[in-house]
């Protein structure tokens, strides 16, 4: 009896090296996607390299120490009061304060809006809110800043002590801007929940409220947090709208209604007034580097949350 190994191997007669059309298509498609991907990687790497080379010059060429830069509270790059000082702590504080506060304001609103759209009134709730949210996402940031300056700032000035400009105004404007981000991520997460999960809870005699608060929300929490982090990343990087309402004083404010600055607002304000290659300009690049680093941190957090979600 012959075993499989002894059987003569059937070899397809060689058809020569004649290329068929589908072979060519395959190679063309593969090359095209490869070139696009490679281009993307090259662009990103060159941006990182460029920002890093400029940003690190502050420390290596201009001799500013990292701790003076990160923890110094005096920003006087032109040396108007003696030695130039490059302390950016007030701006780091401003960036974190505005984006955290914005996330704090926007998250509950967004979660409720997404629940309304997917759980409470999935019919017209979604039809009405979806376009509204998409519209919110499409409004240019200068319009947000303008509205903030003409509506939010005077309101805060009338209600609270101070000028109205400051962290509070920035956070309010940012919270509206990141609302769509968090809402759409949360709504997607809610919509992708297996239907059986909700129904099993109902079948056990749970009310809608119990089902939402004890089954649905805990299950989608990692995804909602992903949305919140994405929203914070957007708030952290937003420049124009914040710059218009925050006041741009280079100090750590003592109240939410006192003029302050963020990393982004200082970069946009100062970049026109510096000479390329000067210590001042390099310090701005260092701030850009810090911003980019923070973005990476946010992306890492999102990755981590997603991995936890998968388990």
């Amino acid at each position: 009896m012959k075993t499989i190994d002894e059987r003569p191997v059937q070899v397809q007669p060689a058809r020569g090296t004649r290329w068929k059309k589908h072979h060519a298509e395959d190679v063309a498609g593969r090359s095209y996607t490869f070139i696009c991907a490679a281009l993307l990687i090259v662009i990103i790497l060159s941006i990182v390299y460029f920002v890093a080379s400029k940003g690190l010059a502050t420390f290596f060429r201009d001799g500013v120490s990292l701790s003076d830069f990160l923890f110094g509270t005096t920003w006087d790059p032109e040396g108007n009061n003696g030695e130039p000082m490059y302390g950016v702590l007030p701006f780091i504080f401003g960036s974190f304060a505005t984006s955290l506060l914005a996330a704090l304001i926007a998250s509950p609103l967004s979660i409720c809006a997404s629940l309304f759209m997917t759980e409470i009134v999935p019919g017209w709730g979604k039809k009405l809110l979806q376009p509204v949210i998409e519209l919110l996402a499409g409004i240019p940031s200068v319009v947000y800043g303008f509205i903030g300056l003409t509506v939010v700032v005077p309101f805060l000035r009338n209600v609270f002590p101070g000028q109205g400009i400051g962290i509070a105004a920035g956070a309010i404007v940012l919270s509206v801007m990141i609302l769509p981000t968090i809402t759409s991520v949360a709504a997607d997460a809610l919509a992708s929940l297996p239907r059986g999960l909700k129904e099993s809870s109902f079948a056990l005699g749970a009310t809608r409220w119990q089902t939402i608060s004890r089954v649905i929300l805990p299950t989608v929490l990692p995804s909602i947090l992903t949305g919140v982090v994405l929203g914070m990343a957007r708030a952290f990087g937003e420049a124009l709208a914040v710059q218009m309402v925050i006041g741009n004083a280079p100090h750590i404010p003592r109240s939410l209604f006192e003029s302050a600055s963020t990393l982004t607002s200082v970069i946009t304000l100062d970049m026109g007034n510096t000479v390329m290659g000067s210590a001042h300009s390099n310090a701005l690049w260092s701030m850009a580097l810090a911003l980019m680093f923070m973005t990476f941190v946010f992306v890492m957090i999102v990755r981590l949350l997603e991995r936890r979600h998968r388990i």
């Binding site: 019919g123 297996p194 056990l204 005699g205 004890r214």
Partner: protein
């Protein structure tokens, strides 16, 4: 059979204009298994879902006729749907444990209904898992995620979860169709055991399964009830040629 405590009377279910279930009167005798069979789309799942008002969640669904459980019309506006659903457990085709620990999955329903005592909850978790023949496999890892269980174990966990609120009726929507033969056998054995305490209604596409585990069989076709009798009668000598054709696999 018409004075059974659990029965439907001229029940119709509409999705918009479409009549998915047509005028069905069916009784489910206590402590027995009734199998609903029929080709896909014949309305048997819709019928099953209407028995614990799951169709409430689908906004276009409309119900006509009555469903009686212990002398109460469950669609009566005065009926408390929350209390009603405690009396009726339901298990779906796809295992759908909550994203929580095994323990929390079972303790969940009783917690809804106000049981907070830890000892009492422990007791419910153990008895429910024992009834679902899962206790020995999971007793050492109750704190682990329910999603770490195999598909068959997850399905038995879902049955245990349904039993945790001590229902009198269990609705099963193709509970074994996503499981391998060994798990299927376990679930079937479980159903036969549970029959001693509960009325069970099971939708199944598996003719052998219906023949093995049910006492009564109802054959649905295009939303209508074609034939309803003891399983023995249906599988050996059905009244209608159509039923005969379906169960022998010549049609459907």
């Amino acid at each position: 059979m018409n004075n059974a405590t659990f029965r439907t009377e001229h029940l119709s279910v509409f999705y918009g204009q479409y009549e998915a279930v047509k005028n069905i009167s069916l009784s489910f005798p206590e402590k027995s298994v009734t199998a609903l069979i029929g080709p896909s789309g014949c309305g048997k799942s819709t019928f099953l879902r209407s028995l614990n008002r799951m169709n409430d969640e689908i906004s276009q669904a409309k119900i006509k006729g009555r469903i009686w459980i212990d002398g109460v019309d469950i669609n009566d506006p005065g009926t408390d749907v929350i209390q009603l659903r405690q009396k009726i457990g339901m298990v779906w085709q796809k295992p759908n444990p909550f994203y929580k620990s095994i323990y929390e999955n079972i303790a969940f329903g009783p917690k809804y209904h106000g049981i907070k005592n830890k000892a009492e909850l422990d007791e419910i978790v153990e008895t429910s898992l024992r009834k679902a023949a899962l206790w020995d496999e999971v007793k050492d890892r109750l704190k682990q995620s329910a999603l770490s269980l195999s598909g068959g174990q997850q399905q038995r966990l879902c049955i245990a979860r349904a039993l945790s609120v001590k229902p009198g009726i269990l609705l099963l929507d193709e509970p074994a169709s996503a499981l391998d033969p060994v798990s299927t056998a376990k679930v079937e054995e479980l159903i036969t055991d549970l029959k001693k305490e509960l009325s069970i209604v099971i939708v199944t596409h598996n003719m052998q399964q219906a023949a093995r585990i049910s006492d009564y069989t109802a054959y649905f076709y295009l939303g209508s009830l074609m034939e309803h009798d003891t399983t023995e009668k249906i599988f050996t000598n059905p009244e209608q040629q159509m039923t005969q054709d379906y169960i022998s696999g010549r049609f459907g």
